[in-house]
Symmetry: C5
Subunit: 97 residues, 5 copies
């Protein structure tokens, strides 16, 4: 998985019928020091994430293992909202600070 | 998924028999600010997309989860036409503007 | 899928028994303007491609969806020979020209 | 697989229900000479790894082949703790030295 | 598949039980002109390869299609030892020369 921040969302009316009810999030990837990278992904929301949330997303076939994405043409899913993480014993990110 | 623009199409008469009826689109990847990247992919069309359309495409095994691509040797599929998206509360792209 | 040119082939006598009859092609990737890239892949031939042919190849699990590669330890397959493609309304490549 | 060092962990209370009991490790990738790279991944722990351990992790669908990750939305798993490795006949890393 | 040279091996005693009997090879990737790249992978050996052998390896789910790697948490497998390959009609590598 990679860490990213939800920075926006995508609207689409004409799409594969299996995607009807999905919320499509624009996620900007963060590095392990919480610095934004130039990399982004559009991921299906499986946990009720919103703008500003720092999240974990899974890619590839693993993105189809949540209840809502099973057998769907979806290659990225937000499957956790991050509370905090640490690197080398230092707190890097804290949601509630 | 990634966002891209349909910039062309590929013609092939000699191909795996399972690909007979596919429309093969050349999709140039856009970044989250809608700037074209030097990256492209050839994707099967699952939603009736055409030149100039901004689309979402899925890669890998997820590309085989639409009705038309099931069990086909296809690793990229256009599964949505994008109407609009926003980043940091700003509208980045609007189809009908 | 990506576009590439068949530039060579690989010979191997000691290999997994499931690969016995495969033709292994060295494919150099082309960008969407038909310029060769520094990227290559070794792909199984599923369409009778040969040196100089411009082809489409599929990667990952999708490479196991042709009749000959089913359930084989193969992660790239040439599944179409390209006749032509266009970008922005201009013909980029034409096999018979 | 790639080699990496466990440099931290991620805490998340709101996540896909299938991930409830997972330990999520921040793994910084090492190159084959044991030099840290700017690349990281968040991986599920399948072997009881902790901070400072040098490990092997598997990505993609292969990350769902351990007992604890089966059918879970997880695309990276730590599946071995490295004791040592050598390159060109020289010992590069030794856990107990 | 990509071409690489076996440059070393990894020792691990604490690992997922499904990996017990695997030989783990450090493979340095070669480009199509046989020049070593800064990229490496740790791959399971399925053909009896050893140090100095130039090999083909498959990645992702395809790495689980050999008899010994079936259903194992393994994302790269050495599935062929290369005898020779050619590019643009020139012999690039010859094992027995």
């Amino acid at each position: 998985m990679l860490i990213g921040e939800v920075v926006g969302s995508v609207v689409s009316t004409r799409k594969d019928e299996q995607l009807e009810s999905f919320k499509l999030l624009v996620v900007q990837v963060r590095d392990h020091a919480n610095k934004p990278k130039e990399q982004y992904v559009v991921a299906v929301d499986a946990v009720g994430a919103g703008p500003g949330d720092v999240v974990l997303y899974a890619s590839g076939s693993s993105a189809r293992q949540t209840t809502i994405t099973k057998d769907k043409p979806c290659d990225a899913v937000v499957m956790a909202i991050v509370d905090s993480w640490d690197v080398d014993g230092e707190n890097v990110y804290e949601k509630w600070s």
